[in-house]
Amino acid sequence: MARSLAEIRFYTPKTLEEALAIRAAERSDAMPMAGGTDVMVWRRAAPDEGPAAYLSLWGLRELKQITKRQSCIEIGATATFAQLARSPLLRENFPALVEAARHVGAAQIQNRATIGGNVVNGSPAGDSLPVLAVAPAMVVLTSKGRGTRRVPFGAFYTGYRQTVLEDDELLVSFELPLPPPGTWSGFEKVGSRRAQTISKVMAALQARLDGDTLHGVALAYGSVAPTVIRLPRTEALLEGCSPSERLADDVSGTLNQEIAPIDDLRSTAAYRRFAAVGLLRRLLRRCAAAQGRAAA
């Protein structure tokens, strides 16, 4: 039964410990809420079905940091996309994540929307997801009872908007392994317009440039399957090649076998297939240009 806003309980813990205790006690009765940019939209769309309580993570300073560790960059779950876009650490090591952050909604949304919310929401159109997939990120989950566990990003989703997150757990951070020298990464998105748009297709590419050839290629797509996906066979074809826009068309056959887009309100399967190749072309063109600059 629906509740008016006055009947909804709203927890505002100040520490992670406090938050985990509430989480353990309330389980699925209290929905975690970071920036609220997805949660509030659901509430309005289905006012009769919202949860009885929310557990706000907004006040947890410890989850907002972006820090350099020995072999990784750690990004707190409630770091906002505005924070990500401004971070010198990310600009240096994961420019693709900065690009993705700048593509989320527009300024107002970037000020509220968090990377943890984007990942737990689990929409295949979540803009940060392909970048986390190519990094590849480790997802750090914590609960009061069982402590901390690390799940590779590739194992975090079990199906369309299904994750391994348990109802006593919170996502606390992402660990992105520091890329080796010479690594290039980029993100490309196509939506219905230039801002405030949900992706029709987006892609992230990360690879090390050794001379003029690509190595350790990682390629991920969003909005072309029930979850964000890596394209291992296409990656293998790109391995050792020299980046060029023609290369995208050369691998397009395999690429199209690896994705499974659908027709929906926002686009068509045919267009998503076309644009998926187009985005790879853009990425490889940019990568080639970067390589040209590095060589010059």
Partner: protein, 773 residues
């Protein structure tokens, strides 16, 4: 000299400071909230309405069609629209039952809890289905319209080439910032008062009179500041006002109903979808010899405004061109979808997409320049339009075309070098158009728009009209016109709140008529009032009225050039001497205007305004995304009363037309709108819009106030067809449907590639007159 100056908006400071009170900012004491229970199916009978356990129904008040004391009818051009469905529904979201209670959220929840059983009937959901079926059960349609001039057979026989094409457009949502909203209450003396966001207070009054069987003096309608309308608050407010008033009558308290965005999207009117077919004969030089047009509209489930939308579309379907022979056929079909209604342009953007795309396709066919083919065929003074209207002065098709082409650098832009790999492909396109201002034919003679003007005791001039300000600037430009006519300061003049208990019926705020029609009466009244003031001064001070003049805030003696008194002092003495200084006058249509409604022959409009829009686009080869990179517009709206406001109208019109051309699309499933929100109903944001260079050509209209024509609708005609032409130029893809989304472009280019492959196997021999699309 306030006409021609960019006087700051009178409503500006309050809007900027957030002090303006829109309808949702009003909360009368003891007010209840209303919600609407709507049909879940597109067509069928209502078997049963039930109120399941779990809701305290005794805490709410409900109303169905049975509660309506007068007729269950919201009258427009016909009387088919019902206020509440009575046992039978004709579209998804048709209102069936109203419910009120003291708490907004609880009322909404209760409305969702009501259960309705239906006996579904087969539904007609698209224009194509309606055309195939011929008729749509339970729905009426307006009569078809036909225009014929000249010898069509002879015209086509003379043609060297005949080009045909079919052009399609879908719904468009108005997307005003402020959704529809009303508050209604009943006074102890039996009067009903409604307040809300609207364009046409007297339309609302007419509807309430019929619904509640009341005389006009018992129905008071007050227009609150209106946050955008675009035609969407021409017809629909009469429905919502009726709902709020009916609930208030049942509850015995004020009732407020303000739609959220979803309800506004799903349940209010939109632009009519259309299909228009052109068949044009053209000789070797590129001169049109004949044209045959077939224009069909989807009116939705009720007639509402469709007859006049159809009529306007039919009249404008020939575009700004001359044809020795032309026939235009217009029909409107019904579907089991929400009634379509008024929307800026009113049937005309649909035909201009068709004609302006078609003319470019003819040019391409002949290997002619798009500017040249237009220049050769455009209307000039002394020519007759498709309705046989003899155009005298004020015809600027040639001027706006030349101006827009020059200022945009169209020539240079169309000769850009081919792009490098990965670089955007650029294209440039244009559209030429016109718009008839005011009501069609003798409509303005019938309407006789009444305007009132009062000299207040403090020497200020109050303009009383039912013309609302929905953001377009009525409250600013009327004072400019009056101030210029009287030669007084514009600060001395103000516009009264549109309240039917106080203001006369100056007609609806529609049809680009406010400045050119109502403004003309404002000018005449101001001149009369000035003469009256000067006569009074002459009687007081001696000499004739010609010895005095108004200036700024004073009356001067002409001889000495010195003030003889302030307007304030003189007004005080005038009111003392003769009571309220109030004048009222109606509009007189130029008697030379002749119109035959039956045959659609004659002078369709007192005047046309003209425009040309040039758009440059950049098309991304990797994704087929189209970005508009430059828009240059040229419009002849006669005298420009307020340049900043006029540019604002052009920029807004262009933006809305870019939306129509590239982004805006209503998705339906079984009669239900699938994208009733900003996530999936895509309008351009500020970063999607280019620089818009809005220039004007001023070709004054002798019967307009200081030469002004109409402006509001004109600028929405150009960008969409110009974009389609630019994309066709850049890609060679034959764009015939809006919006031109990347998905549609891909499908069209795949189809063309497929067609080219098929042709290779089966080379169709080109005949002189063979082309079909």
């Amino acid at each position: 000299m306030s006409v021609g100056e960019s006087v700051a908006r009178k409503d500006g400071p309050d809007k900027v400071r957030g002090l303006t009170r829109y309808i949702d900012d009003h909360n009368p004491a003891g007010c209840w909230f209303g919600a609407t229970v709507r049909s879940a199916i597109p067509h069928g009978r209502i078997k049963n309405i039930s109120f399941p356990k779990g809701t305290r129904w005794d805490r709410f008040v409900m109303a169905t069609a049975k509660a309506i004391p007068g007729r269950n009818c919201v009258p427009f051009l016909t009387e088919d629209l019902v206020l509440l469905a009575d046992g039978y529904v004709r579209y998804v979201n048709e209102p069936i039952l109203l419910i009120a209670g003291p708490n907004h959220d609880e009322v909404e929840r209760a409305a969702r809890a009501v259960e309705i059983d239906y006996e579904p009937l087969p539904a007609i959901l698209t224009l194509d289905e309606a055309i195939a079926a011929g008729t749509t059960d339970g729905c009426q349609v307006p009569r078809p319209l036909h225009i014929r001039r000249g010898d069509i057979e002879e015209g086509f026989a003379r043609a060297d080439t005949i080009v045909e094409g079919t052009y399609r457009v879908g719904h468009q949502e108005h997307v005003y910032l402020e959704t529809n909203g009303f508050i209604a209450w009943w006074e102890p003396d039996g009067r009903v008062v409604v307040k809300g966001s609207m364009q046409c207070p007297y339309y609302v009054q007419r509807a309430l009179k019929m619904l509640f069987a009341l005389p006009g003096e018992k129905v008071e309608v007050i227009a609150t500041p209106t946050g955008g309308a675009f035609g969407g608050k021409e017809d629909f407010p009469s429905v919502l006002a009726g709902h709020a008033a009916l609930l208030s009558r049942e509850v015995g308290r004020p009732v407020k109903m303000v739609y959220n965005r979803t309800e506004d999207f799903t349940s209010t009117t939109k632009r009519h979808p259309a299909r228009v077919h052109y068949r044009t004969g053209v000789d070797k030089e590129g001169t049109f010899t004949a044209c045959s047009v077939d224009f069909v509209l989807d009116g939705g489930a009720f007639i509402t405004m469709s007859p006049v939308v159809l009529s306007r579309g039919v009249i404008h379907a020939s575009g700004p061109y001359h044809y020795p022979a032309i026939e235009i056929h217009g029909r409107c079909y019904a579907t089991h979808t929400p009634p379509n209604g008024a929307f800026r342009g009113f049937g005309v953007p649909q035909v201009f997409f068709g004609i302006e795309r078609h003319v470019d396709r003819i040019a391409a066919r002949l290997g002619m320049d798009p500017v040249e083919i237009r220049r050769r065929n455009l209307l000039k003074p002394g020519m007759r339009t498709a309705t046989g209207q003899l155009l005298r002065d004020g015809v600027s098709a040639a001027e706006v075309l030349a101006d827009a082409v020059d200022r945009s650098g169209y020539r240079e832009r169309s000769k850009r070098p081919a792009p490098g790999p990965g670089e955007p492909r650029r294209g440039v396109g244009l559209a030429l158009y016109m718009h008839g201002a005011g009501f069609t034919g003798s409509g303005e003679a019938r309407m006789k728009s009444l305007v009132g003007m009062r000299l207040t005791r403090s020497g200020r001039v109050e303009i009383l009209t039912a013309s609302t300000d929905m953001g377009q600037g009525t409250r600013t430009v009327f004072p400019q016109i009056a101030a210029r006519a009287m030669n007084i300061d514009v600060d001395q003049v103000f516009v009264a709140e549109p309240d039917t208990a106080r203001v006369p019926d100056s007609g609806p705020t529609v049809a680009s008529r406010t400045v050119t029609i109502v403004g003309r009466v404002v000018q005449q009244l101001a001149e009369t009032l000035a003469r009256r003031i000067l006569r009074f001064v002459a009687e007081e001070q001696g000499g004739g009225p010609d010895g005095y003049a108004l200036q700024g805030t004073h009356v001067l003696s002409r001889e000495h050039g010195t003030p003889v008194g302030t307007l304030a002092d003189i007004a005080a003495r005038m009111t003392e001497a003769s009571g309220d200084v109030y004048l009222e006058q109606g509009y007189t249509l130029n008697p030379d205007i002749r119109w035959n409604e039956e045959t659609h022959e004659g002078d369709a409009y007192p005047v046309y305004a003209w425009g040309c829009t040039v758009v440059e686009v950049a098309l991304d080869p990797d994704t087929l995304e189209v970005q508009t990179t430059q828009v240059t517009a040229s419009h002849d709206i006669g005298t420009v009363v307020n340049p900043v406001l006029a540019e604002g109208q052009v920029e807004g019109g262009v933006a809305q037309s870019i939306g129509y051309g590239l982004y805006e699309e209503v998705h339906w499933h079984e009669g239900r709108m699938l994208n009733p929100g900003f996530t999936n109903y895509v309008i351009p944001t500020s970063v999607d819009l280019p620089d818009i260079d809005a220039g004007f050509v001023e070709n004054p209209f002798p019967d307009g106030p200081f030469g002004a024509k109409g402006l509001g609708e004109l600028p929405i005609h150009g960008a969409a067809p110009a974009i389609a032409n630019a994309i066709a130029q850049a890609t060679g893809i034959d764009v015939c449907e809006l919006p031109v989304t990347p998905e549609r472009l891909l499908a069209a280019s795949n189809a063309a590639a497929q067609g080219a492959r098929d042709d290779r196997h089966d080379p169709a021999s080109e005949t002189k007159k063979g082309e079909a699309t």
